[in-house]
Symmetry: C2
Subunit: 216 residues, 2 copies
């Protein structure tokens, strides 16, 4: 294991970029993937509800089909691990109950002690004002997980490329999601940059920090 | 500087939780805040467009007002740094041009060489199918930055509490955003947990990893 100092965290965020070409011969080690999978698994979400499923697409055939639904971007096929982010289409009382049951199990408490929390969630997301925009809410949560994954990968010196401009409709068809309660929102390719990818040498473009962080 | 090994990254994600009570006497060092501010500044976003402003609210008076717009949650006043995430309400050609100009400046190229990229962005976000849902798009991007911030903080052993259930309308009024092109979407409190916060001892609740990560 290499060692990362705090100072290097910023350096690693500067090192990362949206990788345009992966070296198809380089694969993540199982230790690297385990840590990255855990970063998705442990990602924060509103109420802790985890309104997502992450599909890791490994077969050549599916990768080829998804590439065609991704503006033919080569990263889909050439990366080591390809993760499709899907989110809940609707939020049901059953889903909330399943989560409440999980809290009760993990914390070894009776579900009755969680009734207030359950009602709070139901009041907001199932019966309340957010129920009509639950897809947007769920997608925002998935983007927290995306940030968690991209950041953890950078600190592990693993390259990534987030893909947002994909055909979610085609992804859903290819992945058999059309009749499920989950829909594609984005994807992230992980692996190692090809030496030929010229974008790795382009200076990172950000607005001046004073344009985006203001003190009041 | 303490040293963080790769193995510890997962441990730190388990260590983090939504802090319910901060120790008001403990403040981030300037080095810690600088690294966390850089994590926001360097956060990825679609096209690199950074459709956000992060407002760091430091004055006692504003913190008190925001607390009342946040279900009276004490974290707003007791944390070390309180960051309000705001995002673009509309995406204009002027904004895109400003970004294209920044690319040209940072990479020392003529803007004319970026015309194709400019047209691609305009076609998608200003004149295209995403223009009608630009607020949702911008909010998703801000949640990448939230994930980047929460994750970096965990690795730096800094506590956080994301606040989503706030009154965005009240925040906009208090922060004088009503006539600006930015609107509040969420906030993150940063600092150090109080020894009295019993939630730090509660086991973290996540679904079984096989429920949320599937292989295809």
């Amino acid at each position: 294991m290499t060692i990362t100092s705090e100072i290097e965290l910023t350096a690693q965020l500067k090192w990362r970029y949206a990788c345009k070409a992966f070296d198809p011969t380089q694969k993540l080690t199982s230790e690297q993937w385990t840590m990255l999978a855990e970063s998705l698994h442990l990602s924060p979400s509103s109420y802790g509800l985890q309104p997502w499923k992450f599909l890791v697409v490994q077969t050549t055939e599916l990768r080829r089909e998804l590439r065609l639904a991704s503006w033919n971007q080569g990263q889909v096929e050439d990366c080591s691990h390809f993760v499709v982010f899907t989110t809940l289409k609707t939020m049901s009382e059953d889903y909330v109950n399943h989560y409440i049951q999980q809290i009760a199990t993990v914390r070894n408490v009776d579900v009755s002690t969680l009734e207030g929390y359950r009602q709070m969630i139901l009041g907001s997301l199932v019966n309340g004002d957010r129920s009509s925009t639950i897809q947007h809410w769920a997608q925002r949560q998935a983007y927290i997980a995306m940030g968690t994954l991209l950041t953890t990968a950078a600190y592990l010196k693993v390259d990534t490329c987030p893909l947002e401009g994909i055909s979610a409709q085609d992804y859903d068809r290819i992945l058999g999601l059309e009749t499920s309660n989950y829909g594609t929102v984005a994807a992230v390719a992980l692996g190692f940059r090809s030496a030929d990818d010229k974008y790795q040498h382009a200076p990172k473009v950000r607005f001046d920090i004073n344009e985006v962080i203001e003190y009041q």
